[in-house]
Amino acid sequence: MVHGEVWTIKELFTYPNEYIYWSIQIVMYPFMTGLVAGAFVLSSLYHVFGIKQLKDIARFSLVFSFALLPCAPLPLLLHLQQPLRNMHVMMTPHFTSAIAAFGIVFVTYGAIVAAELWFLYRKHFVETALALKNKANKTAYETGMYHLNNLLTLGAHDISELALHRDEKAIKIMAGIGIPVACFLHGYAGFIFGSVKANALWMTPLMPVIFIMSAVVSGIALCMITYIITMEGRKFLAKRKAAACPGESCADIESVELNVIQMTAKYLLGFLVAAITLELLDLIFRGYTAVKSWDMLRRVIYGKDFYNIFVVQYGLGNLVPFILLLIPGLTIRRAVVGTLLVLLGVFMMRWNVVIGGQAFSLTFAGFMHYHLPIIPHDMETFREGLFGALFIVTSPYVLFFILNKIMPVFGMKESH
């Protein structure tokens, strides 16, 4: 069977070779990249602009951004027909192509986040390494952790006041450089779509900006929800051992959590407004200018995809959470519902761009319907099906769990 034939249903006049070639993994790619960029921007709000209220979530979102990072190119890898040749992009980059620079942008960004994290956790590495070094009767795990932490210090064991101050400065610089690079990383994903002149729905110079805004929205939302989940987990643990350990009390965690969430929600709302404004501007402009392709786009946007675009994306994914988060006296429960809906909205935006852009034929006289493969019956339907997408969604959490062992997000007394 031809690639794409399994999940494509053609209607009316389409060219014989047309199928939905870019499927669920290409929806996941901008979604995941957006989360990476958004999480980083959230952490930078504290590190660069010194928004103190976000201090607690800044460290968390930076580590989480790093955990998300390797998962951003993963969908591309699963999507490639020749995944083993992925390195060709680095070996012979053909720079007239928007995809060619992906490796370079991605590695640059990764290096910046890694450097920032190193400065942030250098003191922790040194302290852990020293503490474990002097410990007698180390377990195998502790020996491993000792060597790992020792290695991660990169030989810089100086944790004097002066050195730490320099670290702080470096963090600020890294976060400062990181913001434009993070925006570039994701605006660039938007450019990959926006520059396809053959596709009437994608081709708009607004695409990169729309992508950046919705990226920040989704990144903040995911950080909020993950933050809430981990805080609830800690609360649960604190309750269980409340009697034994008087360290941190349940009420403390609760007040910190609510405070952070209420503050972060304000930034989420700001970016959400920017994202919706741009998306609506694009839609209105297309309708008003009504060039040749509009006749077809109108039938897709207001007809075939009406439910996906207006009900799920704009209604459920934008309007409802907007109201939920705007009503004063935000509670954790409301924040959970709101952020989950925001994530749904951004995901549906990616879906409606990628799949919606292929819902109509290049002939402008036919349609293509996408049916997501759910039960995989071969490698292709796994990779480009529901389970492939779920694999992508869960992988950052596994990485976050491991990273958290090396770079603990919570329970650090000092904080930059």
């Binding site: 209607e11 009316l12 020749q82």
Partner: protein, 268 residues
């Protein structure tokens, strides 16, 4: 003693000193190098001419292409195909016209009935007396002068030869599908066996030996012709230069090099 400051300034100075003479060099593409060494500016530019007036929709070109280029016969992809357009008036013979178009299996088996394929298993058979006009349009890769597919390939696996034909390196293509999405004509697809991008290349293995393409050979009516646009005496060149020819979707700025005689506004 070498201080850190000294090391950095010296490194920068050294790099600046090195980059200055390096700027005097010019990086040559293989094509430019060829042109300089062999004084060989390309003498061939392959172009294609389709006379839609002569096409009867028999599909022999599609069959021949599939066999010649080893595109699995039953696979629903093809390097060339034929479209049928049927323009009807409704039963009350109002002015409004309806355009139907189809290309079932790329017209591999020819159009043998008057039933139109509407996709998804639906068909429609217009009454003969309602049909105002009907015609066939063969399609193939346009070997554009400004190919969108070559522009977007991230690894340079698809490229344009100096005779104008756009080729694909099957050993280097990563199968990202960007070229498939970038082509406004829908000529590209993934080869079902090689799992890389594939498309018509004017039967490059044949034309390089001075033969005609498989579809040109197979057409019993002379609706398809291939020629060399750089040869002013070439029959195809003469027709393109002297007759009223059209190209497909010129608004995309791709400068297609497949020319059509008798193109109608209904053609997509």
């Amino acid at each position: 003693m070498i201080t850190r400051r000294k090391l950095i300034t010296n490194t920068l100075k050294g790099m600046a000193a090195l980059s200055l003479p390096a700027a005097a060099f010019e990086i040559l593409t293989p094509e430019r190098l060829n042109a300089i060494i062999y004084n060989d500016t390309a003498k061939v530019r392959y172009v294609f001419l389709v006379d839609t007036n002569k096409c009867v929709g028999c599909g022999l070109c599609v069959k021949a292409c599939k066999n010649e280029n080893e595109i699995p016969y039953e696979a629903n992809v093809t390097r060339t195909w034929v479209e049928r357009y049927i323009i009807t008036r409704d039963e009350r013979h109002e002015v409004l016209e309806k355009v139907f178009a189809d290309s079932p299996k790329g017209a591999r088996d020819g159009f043998i009935t008057g039933t139109i394929d509407l996709g998804h298993g639906n068909t429609y058979t217009p009454r003969k007396e309602d049909i105002d006009k009907a015609f066939f349009v063969p399609k193939l890769c346009n070997q554009c002068d400004n190919p969108a597919c070559v522009q977007v390939c991230p690894v340079g696996a698809t490229y344009q030869a100096d005779d104008g034909v756009v080729l694909i390196d099957r050993k280097w293509c990563i199968g990202c599908g960007y070229c498939v999405m970038g082509c406004p004509y829908g000529v590209r697809f993934f080869h079902p066996q090689h799992h890389v991008a594939d498309k018509c290349n004017f039967c490059y293995h044949r034309i390089k030996k001075g033969m005609k393409t498989a579809c040109v050979e197979a057409c019993p009516f002379g609706a398809r012709l291939i020629g060399n646009y750089k040869d002013p005496d070439d029959a195809v060149t003469r027709i393109i230069n002297t007759k009223r020819v059209g190209v497909l979707k010129e608004e995309f700025g791709t400068r297609p090099q497949v020319f059509y005689l008798g193109l109608s506004m209904e053609v997509r």
